[in-house]
Symmetry: D2
Subunit: 333 residues, 4 copies
């Protein structure tokens, strides 16, 4: 259940405050150059650097323990480990009894009959996305060989569109984040992802459509609540004659790309584009009411621990990784 992929297969394990978190990537072709430094850039992009991100700092140094020999992938499963160093576990003691609203505390307690590791969210922690990013680095290396490039960027924070031509945008958003921090609150955002160079024919009709596979893994990222391809929800308001993307050459290039590069579930050779909604982190310091299973009353909860006021800032590289994994798998089968 903690695996994704048919042939290029990613399995993840670990808890926020456990010994290690890690990923095993099976199905990587042999002969791809790979070393621990290759992960640095993407792992850095996921790190909490900006204002509005958690104060928990981890080195996030990957150790490749298998599947690589003399600097090249061998074709055997690649396991990558990370240590959890900067853990403060006493912050989480009461959450099983007094579960955070809209967090996994309550459902995990019921599902695992109280045996789940509650420290730092345990296996539900956003920290586990570190392993996805690591697997994504390998997926991107594979896709690179096919000329596929994937990039994600934030398109809005707290409802404010990122407009790179307007210098005030950044100020407005920074101000919003400062306000959220001041209020012990959190903010959401929207991320757009584009995969360029995906060849015509990738994907399958129905259950293994490009959209099915990408959405499946994108919703594996905690805090994602929506995904739309191409025009997405807007297309529901368009006429067919406007929504249709005119094919203009024998390669299948289209004049517009309202369908986000996928028709009939199959990549049509144009950019695959999709947007993802990231909800505001549910873990906020602001006191909020929630049922206390011990006292059997609704009581205010003040969440301790170190959390992100705007997790969206850290998600683009995770979304890229997830898309890369899904597309690398579609290429492999």
């Amino acid at each position: 259940m903690n695996s994704f992929g048919r042939k290029f297969k990613v399995s993840i394990f670990g808890e926020s405050h456990g010994v290690n978190i890690g990923a095993t990537i099976d199905g990587t072709p042999p002969g791809i150059p790979l070393c621990e430094n290759d992960f640095a850039n993407d792992l850095d992009r996921r790190k909490p650097n900006a204002k509005g991100t958690t104060s928990r700092k981890e080195t996030d140094t990957p150790t490749i323990v298998s599947g690589v020999f003399n600097g090249y992938t061998t074709g055997a499963p690649i396991t990558i480990l990370f240590q959890n160093n900067n853990t403060i576990s006493n912050d989480y003691k009461n959450l099983a009894q007094h579960p955070r609203p809209s967090h996994a505390d309550f459902v995990a307690g019921v599902k695992y009959k109280g045996f789940n590791d509650p420290r730092g969210g345990g296996h539900f922690s956003g920290r586990i996305t570190l392993t996805l990013v690591a697997a994504g680095v390998i997926a991107k290396k594979i896709l690179d060989q096919f000329g596929v490039n994937i990039e994600a960027q934030i398109v809005s924070i707290a409802g404010v569109d990122i407009d790179n031509t307007n210098p005030k945008t950044e100020q407005i958003i920074e101000h919003k984040i400062e306000q959220a921090l001041a209020n012990c609150d959190s903010l959401g955002g929207v991320v757009k992802c584009t995969a360029k160079g995906v060849k015509v024919g990738i994907g399958e009709p129905f259950f293994d459509s490009v959209e099915s596979r990408i959405s499946h893994i994108i919703f594996a990222i905690p805090a994602v609540k929506a995904i739309e391809f191409g025009e997405g929800f807007n297309i529901a308001n368009m006429n067919g004659s406007d929504a249709n993307d005119t094919i203009i050459n024998a390669k299948g290039t289209t004049k517009t790309n309202h369908n986000g590069g996928v028709v009939g579930g199959i990549a049509n050779g144009n950019d695959i584009t999709f947007k993802v909604a990231i909800k505001p982190t549910p873990s906020i310091a602001k006191p909020q009411p929630t049922f206390n299973l011990e006292s059997q009353k609704i009581e205010n909860l003040e969440i301790k621990g170190r959390h992100d006021a705007c997790i969206t800032l850290r998600t683009p590289v995770i979304i890229e990784a997830a898309a890369a994994i899904a597309i690398a798998d579609l290429y492999s089968i």
Copy 2:
């Protein structure tokens, strides 16, 4: 690849103008009463009855050829067949050379090297959703035993919200459809689906989240371009303190349901709610430019055949079926 599910597994086969289309449903528990009449209601709901739907009329009579004995499921795979009777195949002759924009003609030709069955869209046809609806009937019967009920309804057509308290809504939409028909054009819409009674704990963290599994199968439905759970894209604009759903009792009932009944990928016992965007049917009679692979020029295409001006009208039961299949599978594992 044409299968969905881990334990309750649905496999589909068939082409729009082939001998049969059908589904095999494996993993159904023994002892569920099932006969061919049980399919009538849902199959009828999918039929093109309303204005704005295709003039191809099929009886859509299911034949159960295995897995049922003396009126009960046996535990063995259930195969259900439908015949294709009302086919007019010469409508589709030229589409391989002159592919319809935003339809699968071009990608299918490339992917299958010209060997795909182009008649009526072949295996890419919306007709195959008939088999999903049939599988959904069985999924609903299973879920019924757990007290789970799934209902989908249209929330907007062509950007007009369905407001049942406003008698004019229906007129406005009917007028929009008439206009689309007059213009040989098509319309999209949005469908909302609600699953009531899903127990706390269904779903898995990360890759087998409730949202991952549901979105996976929902995007298997042709014409779907977006999905959002709970508040969906709106949640990206909310503060955490507003977005969080206060837990009000020991069963996990929440005061609001901005998260659409899923947190950390796991059902939290509240209604699972999601919305789906359906694009306007790409097959429109209105002449539209598209590249002709034979003449190597962009030329106007007038699509023959019988198509839906507003396929959204027929999708709620398909979306219900897809959700039921995904949730029945999550219950089974």
Copy 3:
């Protein structure tokens, strides 16, 4: 559960006395010539023709209902149906209460809580192997393109080795079968299968070894109780220096083939060889004691119905089909 294969995937359905039995073959490449006549030869080989085989005669005419267009595979799932015509169901009425020894009657009743179809063994019937043979025909067509050829033949019946150079062998075996028929008893046998032309490198270390995949599907054939590759059980008695197969050229050809063409789980380019033990049909007319669940006593059972005295005679083509399916799948991934 009723499916085999990762990419070339075979799903089977049906009961001995139901409407249809059939198979869906997903993952067949497009462009392979295929028509219903192509199945005739292998289906004939499975038919009960010889003395010692059942008197139930079925036409076993395949109908391809999907996945083939204009005489070629399309790349979409291929479903093949067979009708059950020659059924005499009242023979099986009492077997649920008075289960046949070493047959599935008892276990099926427990597993499916009495809802299983008991007629003719239901979904447990050897008749379902007809669908395997059909799928095997497609697998063989795929393998043919890679120069792979698979052949199985009987090596012994009832302990008597088939010695083609000794004209008396046939007589001895014929006599054994006549005796078994006279005694209302049944006989077992051993079948050897050889796959020639399998390229070096097919298969995976550990769980997806060639031996794992082949044995998995071979044990799906009812009545199979053992499998050995190359020297099989004999190799346990050999010294390493004798058992090792000397590599004699750069293609990996070996002087001997004690390992049956597989080392480390991977095909080594030599013939893949294995032997399979087929038990005597448990359904014999001879009265035999078995517990009666109704009377709660051990009572003699006289099995009615039409059964094979020596099912081994019909199995070579089934074993070929199973091996072809497994190897075609290993080629496809």
Copy 4:
């Protein structure tokens, strides 16, 4: 590909001389007591202690890095790591050019285009079975809750049956091993495994038969060349009336157990019994001819490194583990 199981799923990784080898076990129910000491007994049984086993000594200390909290399984994936300490890698330098007969050197080189890790057999090493034994410990703990007990023991070495009532047997076998050591040769053997207490109904007809699942994982163990259930190959020589196992009570107990506890692919409540042939280790010190890819000639190879003269001595616990994994998975689905 390096995974086994549908719900109780074991994934393995690592190379003989890499940083770590390990297994991830997904699908373990929460609440099972588990600590690192629990592995000691089975890991010890796999260790090379006896005469005739390798001189490579490893501590084989397991580290549980995830999935266990406060001494209990959490329901999240359990990853167990082992270090490789006692490695002497220069022994393996030439094997890529001058491949060992009947070992994976040649096939691995072709399959992975020379990128495989050749040190100590790399990912093909028998050392990886350590991870299977670890996963087996967890499987056994799960099965223990269902009253299932699995035990394997050697039944013959080099063709000599182990007869516990005859004190000379041990001497004869010890002498055989001494001879093999003296001759720089190796010996094979046969192991029998019995699973007691498996409930009626486990397993599925056809592809997921008990025999299919067990044989699949048993052939994942390096050096296994054959498997037989119950009477195995002998049953091919029996009459049906002798081979059939008379049911003697309402629980399905049978008088004999020629079918090894499985009929129609389903457990019948009696002991599941099977025998496995283990070939003599192909790595022998005795010079043996094999093709040299560099010189393009057949030349004598003297294998360096530390190998087992009789690997069979170490396999019973591995076979137990494999059977436990397969049966635990069948229980879980």
